[in-house]
């Protein structure tokens, strides 16, 4: 597999082109890779198996193609992004990266260890970004011998579409790395908000307990799945009802995020309510299993 030395044309004007490594070819990793590639940076995506890498690259290309079809992206920019895109299963392929963005499984020890391995591979100037949503940036940074270069950059999902990145500095993050990170993320065309290394940063810190409150209101018989979603969309003007959203996120994922935040904050509002466990036990995980709070004709994310 190539390691991505291809020349990229059409980089955004005034933007210093940097080589970017993305760890993880899942939904977040692919979404971040799209965002970075679209801004004109060469990107190398790394995952553990060739299948996963290929799957990630295919979904990235498909997204960019659809952008051209819908008139959101010029064919030249798509071509430039695709030609700068490569995949690998080797960490060593990230040796000449200016920025490495980690979007692997939410496991603090694993993330910390990965940055430790990258210490031996990347140059001392390379920025290490972690896209964790619930873990401690400081904890992850402590795996690196140069923790001052580790910065939290949380891309809101879906990364290519949502205009927001939370930049969180850990206790060990250096001023220079923080400054370079803001510049880099703004160069991707994203709105940057600065926050602290606290569990859930801003987005999940507010979203997750709100979702739990909706589930508790349902448990308490304050309304039905439909009426609570209506209250949220028509009464609060949120773009999607909470139960519609949770069915897309997946109840298993919600439980993991919610419980991770609860463990770190010890605030009962963050604890997943009992109904979540019952639904998981029943296999009602949401769209992906065909049933969650709502029923879907077909299992899968695009179910009706």
């Amino acid at each position: 597999m190539e390691t991505g030395k291809a020349e990229v044309h059409g980089a955004a004007e005034g933007l210093r082109r940097q080589k970017v490594g993305v760890l993880g070819a899942g939904t977040m990793g692919s979404g971040i890779a799209i965002t970075v590639a679209r801004a004109g940076h060469p990107v190398v995506v790394r995952d553990l198996s060739e299948d996963r890498v290929e799957g990630g690259l295919a979904s990235i290309r498909k997204f960019l193609d659809r952008g051209v079809e819908r008139g959101k992206l010029s064919a030249e920019k798509r071509d430039a992004a695709v030609s700068g895109l490569s995949g690998t299963t080797e960490l060593e392929a990230l040796a000449d990266c200016d920025v490495v963005i980690e979007a692997i499984f939410e496991d603090e020890a694993l993330k910390a260890e990965t940055f430790g391995q990258l210490d031996e591979i990347c140059g001392p100037e390379t920025l290490f970004h972690t896209n964790t949503s619930t873990l401690s940036v400081t904890g992850i940074a402590s795996g690196s011998k140069h923790p001052e270069r580790v910065v939290g950059t949380h891309y809101a999902n879906p990364a290519p579409l949502v205009n927001l990145v939370e930049v969180a500095r850990g206790r060990l993050t250096g001023d220079e790395a923080h400054r370079r990170t803001i510049e880099f993320v703004e160069g991707l065309g994203k709105e940057v908000v600065l926050t602290k290394d606290t569990p859930g940063f801003i987005l999940n810190y507010f979203l997750v307990p709100f979702e739990n409150d909706c589930i508790r209101a349902l448990e308490a018989g304050m309304g039905t799945v439909e009426s609570i979603d209506k209250a949220v969309t028509l009464g609060l003007g949120y773009p999607m009802g909470t139960f519609t959203l949770l069915d897309i996120v997946g109840l298993d994922i919600h439980k993991a995020v919610s419980f991770a935040l609860y463990e770190r904050l010890r605030d009962p509002r963050f604890a997943p309510p009992p109904l979540v466990d019952r639904m998981i036990a029943a296999g009602h995980l949401g769209r992906k299993t065909g049933k969650g709070f709502y029923e879907y004709e077909r299992a899968g994310l695009m179910g009706t």
Binding site: L164, T195, I202, F206, P209, M222, A231, G235, P239, R269
Partner: protein
């Protein structure tokens, strides 16, 4: 549901005027009760300017505006409410006031009329207990501005009969609203979900999680909320939220409904939000 019923709205403040307008636009004849002619005039002006704005924006025709206004009349005499089949109470959020008002109105309209309250902070059950035949009493909670917000909460008092709730739901649908049924618990449905979130937003801001702008940007861009929490508080009014969450806290003792200390400090300082010119943001002139 037959159109053109005779409806009584109690109170011609912001909510009362909005509810009267919604009812009149749905072809009901509306009698609004207030305590003085001056307040009746204020309410009428409020309704007129709201409808004029609708005309200006092309949402309402001049003919519809004139017809709606013609269907609303005011009175200061409870006795003139006789013949109203539905009463919607939107008086000041004061238990003492409502306790006195509701039995007097109930007597004027008779035992067949359906009675509803637009309270957001008081117990519907407690208000139902002030009238004879409390089973015909329920909550009909509109959101501000009532003519624009599609949601109405139909709140079941402990005494409300199924028939009353069915009627209120159909009545709200007849107004072009989307009703949701809920129980008479603090905050009903929407505010039960909103208040803990707003309190958390205030506390996080006090804790220095991020700047006000960055917190709101995150919520707007990241979650697609129409307005960040701090901006929303400035719009609602910090005093209004403080009152609502304190009332809910008194009934539940839930720490999530307990007003965060900064909220009380800001209200003491007169930083009430947009209306006082300053809240979490500087709004320049008070509006």
């Amino acid at each position: 549901m037959s159109e053109g019923q005779k409806i009584s709205v109690l109170g011609f403040g912001t909510m009362g005027a909005g509810i009267a307008q919604v009812c009149a636009e749905a072809s009901h004849e509306v009698v609004v009760l207030e305590t003085s002619d001056e307040r009746l005039e204020d309410g009428r002006r409020r309704m007129e300017s709201f409808l004029d704005e609708g005309v200006r924006r092309g949402k309402v025709t001049e003919g519809d505006r004139d017809e709606a206004l013609a269907r609303v009349r005011g009175t200061t005499k409870v006795g003139e409410l006789a013949g109203c089949g539905v009463v919607i109470e939107a008086a000041v959020e004061d238990l003492g006031v409502k306790r006195e008002l509701l039995p007097a109105v109930a007597e004027a309209v008779g035992e067949e009329a359906v009675l509803a309250t637009n309270t957001s902070a008081l117990s519907v059950t407690e208000l139902a207990a002030t009238v004879p035949r409390p089973e015909r009493f329920g909550g009909l909670h509109f959101f501000n501005p009532a003519p624009l917000m599609p949601l109405v909460e139909v709140v079941a008092a402990e005494q409300s009969s199924g028939e009353t709730l069915d009627f209120l739901e159909a009545f709200a649908e007849g107004l072009g609203k989307q009703p949701v049924r809920t129980k008479d618990r603090p905050g009903f449905l929407v505010n039960r979900l909103l208040m803990p979130y707003l309190n958390q937003v205030v506390q996080a801001y006090d804790d220095g999680l991020a700047s006000a702008e960055d917190m709101d940007t995150a919520l707007e861009n990241g979650l697609g909320y129409p307005m960040g929490g701090l901006k929303l508080l400035d719009l609602i009014g910090l005093d209004v939220h403080l009152h609502a969450t304190s009332a809910a806290y008194e009934q539940t003792h839930s720490p999530y409904l307990s007003p965060p200390p900064l909220l009380g400090r800001m209200v003491s300082a007169g930083y009430l939000g947009r209306k006082s010119g300053r809240g979490f943001y500087d709004w320049g002139e008070a509006s």
